[in-house]
Symmetry: D2
Subunit: 367 residues, 4 copies
């Protein structure tokens, strides 16, 4: 059956590279897009790997030169899933070449690079989005709608925790993530995800007071330069107070992003490890019946119904990326879209930078 198409290029074949490929493969059948994405060109520094992945994932061509992807005339959208230090150069080049860009988080490794990316996006007139897929969860979208509708009254206090344990082993060898050139640690590696959620759910930050910590001072006798733990007190522009904490060394936590939103009439809680449900408390006339209800995601929570007509059956992590691809296609078509664009991304980077500075100067930093 003929249908309009849109050409996809992808740079990178790791966790996120495959995730983008799966999303581009699935989005048309899931959402019935007006234009069917066609996987045109895949780049990886290892050309053999590029070829193998291209064959598996359905790309028409493979290369070890990311510029070949960007300049391939069949490519209209470039997915960037290369290591963080390359994001800025690749994104700016792709935008300059007239491509739409879907770049994985975090935006860049310096504020200057992030600003350059935003400038490039502005000049290009193209869609430039960042890969913050957690905001695409139907449960999160429902939470956001409930907050906006006043279901829990005025939001006055927020907590968010992001925990995994891949840096938990004190006996693991010294690695790239222990080096200062990899970034701050949990702060930029992790906390950007909760910040993307807070941006949607609680609005802009006004001030932060942060602290970082090292559970293990050294590995293999070599001082660890990054911090597995980042914590911050928050003040939002709305006046709400908050807490953020991220820990890459939290044994037993595998994908925890635990949100608590407190309002004048109720409370909402969520944990990404149980991503298909959220907890809602609202005051009841009959106190015998009051309690946090566990709401299971279903077709009532957009866009769950595009995947499944049956509630409580559950989406997966990769499905969030399919939704993100759909939103990017909507943005390209000029329809309303739920994306983290480069301006939103810069705000997240600015918050990270403010937290790093707060830690260094041991004081509150206004944003």
């Amino acid at each position: 059956m003929t249908k309009d198409t849109i050409g996809i290029g992808l740079v990178g074949t790791g966790f996120m590279g495959k995730c983008h490929a799966l999303a581009w493969n699935a989005v048309a059948a899931t959402f019935g897009e007006t234009r069917r994405p066609v996987l045109r060109h895949l780049a990886d520094v290892d050309v053999g790997r590029a070829r193998r992945c291209a064959a598996e994932w359905g790309f028409e061509a493979a290369t070890d030169d990311w510029r070949a992807v960007i300049h391939d005339p069949a490519v209209e959208i470039v997915s960037i899933a290369a290591p963080n230090p390359f994001h800025a150069e690749m994104a700016c080049a792709a935008l300059a070449a007239g491509r739409h860009v879907w770049c994985e988080k975090p935006m860049a490794t310096t504020m200057a690079d992030a600003q350059a990316m935003l400038d490039a996006a502005g000049r290009s007139g193209r869609i430039a989005a960042l890969g913050y897929n957690y905001i695409q969860n139907p449960a999160i979208r429902a939470i956001e709608a409930l907050v906006r509708e006043g279901a829990i009254g005025d939001l006055n206090h927020v907590r968010v925790e992001m925990d995994e344990d891949f840096m938990g082993d004190p006996d693991a060898p010294f690695a790239f993530k222990n080096e200062a050139r990899s970034g701050h640690g949990a702060l930029d590696d992790f906390a950007v995800h909760p910040l993307s959620l807070l941006g949607r759910l609680a609005g802009p930050l006004a001030a932060v007071m942060a602290e970082q910590a090292k559970p293990y001072a050294a590995r293999e006798g070599r001082p660890v330069e990054t911090h597995e733990i980042a914590m911050a007190l928050l003040r939002f522009a709305s006046g709400a107070s908050g807490l953020l904490v991220a820990n890459r060394a939290a044994w037993g936590r595998k994908g925890r992003i635990a949100l608590q939103l407190f309002g004048s009439k109720g409370t909402i809680a969520f944990d990404q490890e149980r991503m298909n449900e959220f907890q809602l408390f609202t005051r009841e006339d009959d106190p015998r019946r009051e309690g946090f209800r566990t709401v299971l995601a279903g077709p009532a929570h957009e866009p769950y119904g595009h995947f499944l007509p049956a509630p409580g059956h559950g989406l997966g992590f990769n499905d969030l990326k399919v939704i993100e691809a759909h939103e990017i296609l909507a943005a390209i078509d000029g329809r309303p879209a739920r994306i983290v664009d480069f301006a939103d991304g810069l705000a997240i980077e600015a918050a990270v930078a403010a937290m790093a500075r707060s830690h260094a100067e041991r004081r509150w930093i206004e944003l």
Copy 2:
């Protein structure tokens, strides 16, 4: 990138039709199949719908004649997601035409039809599998492995509950599912799923004692002919005892399949509504530390790692169908595969028939 392909035909465009289409679209990129499925031909009784879905889902052709799909020389595998009464005729015809068949559960509406399907499969030499996707869950596969390894000792007692609430409203109009010609009710509509799990986890049944119940005797003044609730006492060939209950009118349950497996050294529990985790209890030397542990699915649980390298990030319901498609491709290639074939399916149908008879005759029925 060129790669061997295998042609897919699909009959049906409902919940399961889309689910098959998504699975065929995703399986090669997810698992790196040796042959890439190509979506060749889609049938629906409504040709307009067939065409729209074909365009969205990526099928090359559409028809309102299911025989056209089966006899399309480009089609090598036929996915059957048409209403249950058509399964037998379609599956037999497809097998006779030399196609592999992936037919949605339940197998058929009569034991005779189910037997005819098994016979047709035997004659064809083709792969004939049923759509029991819950057994494909990495968590379920891990539970099965743990049981076989003796992690909980000898299994001696099993309970399974399957509950949803789509028939819960007493004021809903009289519908097809209330008519006897739709089947028994929860028994064949629902209980086949738990039976597919018990077959893997607890082995064959030896005897059943069943009872069915109607929460609402009538709708719109018309007697309800089916039973929303089915319950059974079970005895397994191993000597283990068990309970099975299914309820289509269980308010608040959306996709619950709650398993409890009791052994001589431990216990395992699982609930499909939280499909990415299971509970494991084993005895500990130190009773202060004993407890059910919540294990989050991850790459240690095959084949989770084909979707995601990060544990605790979660698969969705549709991913189970992708795994099922992968297993069918493995079976076609002659590799070991985890499928419910027509012989397994017939055993499930036999258990259902025995339960229906037990209910009618109010006595234990041996299998």
Copy 3:
């Protein structure tokens, strides 16, 4: 401060003996009773133990002769916490002596004895209550009220599971509980508790179809005569269907009594292992907000407020016995009381007997 008193006698110093003593000690201060219980006389077959416990628990006298307790003129209520085979003789004697009786469950070891106890109670004009403390839980009382008020509509299906693991070890020595003279096993040892709950929550039983099972056929080479597992299909007089299962060999379960009550408008769930909360689902106009709510017990749930003014702070198992003591005092005073009297107790024993017969005869038994 002077206050009217009421004299307490107790027979037995085990788990339940101490539990009664603690309850009699606490009830006046907790509830502000019109008459303060005074611990007059304690009996145990081991007189040394009787004396030690009397000193610790605050009894004025100790004896190894239970008849001395019953005939002590200072004793007005006799708590019977002796082994089950003695219940009937002691209760009948105490009632004949004009004492009120609070006898631990189960009532007796034969139906004839239970009937004799009921007759003795009728002749005496005294209060005769059984120790079924789980019905006293404020959460259970709230559930009962909600069901009666129609919060979940018409109750049409019930499930109850009672599981502990004290008989779980296959290598434990052959013990009294493995002998037929100890009773049926889980059926009378355990299932009486769920039956006491079902009697309050779902009304009388009409028919049962039961099965018992032995996880371990022998211990120390000697055949096990009792059944650690009892299961039953239920039909209530109301027409509701149900399931009951009890397992004394359920590894990891320590005090689980899991209830599920399904109605035409909602569902309630409860687990004694988290005795201070219950789950309530009711249909909502907005499906985005629908879910099981976890209600924490608090002063809104009678009689929680007599223990604590703060919700969510929690009662314990022993507090349920204090409530039971309070209800017995209320009954003695002629006030409305929530007790399981000997007539209620006989109905429980009749259900157990019917299940045992159903198991033996492999057929449904009407009650």
Copy 4:
């Protein structure tokens, strides 16, 4: 049965007054104390209430003069459950009169008063303990033991949240707790409880960075002077990092004290709303079996077995106070005891004062 006794005086008849009375009533029977507490004298400013409560709770005498209690020669221990501003005067007077003191938390409303109390205790040679009952929970005691034994390796990060909702209603009238003279708000009203736990579980604090917040700036048009929310970044003397947050306006939370303890080999979590269980994660050789285990409190967790021989049956909030009374009697007898003495209490008050100062000066404060 004769037994040595010890005389109890109590000042106050509110929530905590009754809780002390229940504990003194229950402790001997629960623990088999060498000396049986006898309730001698009860004071309340309302003499009628004092008399009614004395009659109910079993006190021999009642008064509206707290000094009469303290100087009653039959009184050996004074329980102080009067409003916070009276703690210092009463405790100092009781100690000066040679009585042992059990004073409810918080210690006092000023650091000077708290110091005076500690000095008075030192001069008296009597036992002076504070009512921090949460540390008495068998689950908390087990967590502490596990941490000390190294079950989770070296503790490197801690989080604690304490939330209730009694100040959640924005439309509630302006009340005493909204006035500055009542204290800081959540900081001293609430956070002292988590601080008592952290003192046992994580050791002394080295520095704090705190912030307080007001969800509702005014009530009835009058500015609210206290803060319902207190948050703090923590650094412990051990080098561990941490977070503390307390919220009296957290809708739906009724008695939440959520602890998370992260170590180099595992993690422990606990929530007071489910006080009879805790979560323990330790690394396993087989990653397929790794997960947080839910440990139910039982006789393996001291001193649970003094209440109940059966695990998983559950203690209640009031039972924690019974344990506290037992520990105070142990201390009086010169046995090892688990109490928060006035020196420990002063450390808690110092932490609160440091947090208040940190909030005021917007900087880290060393302790």
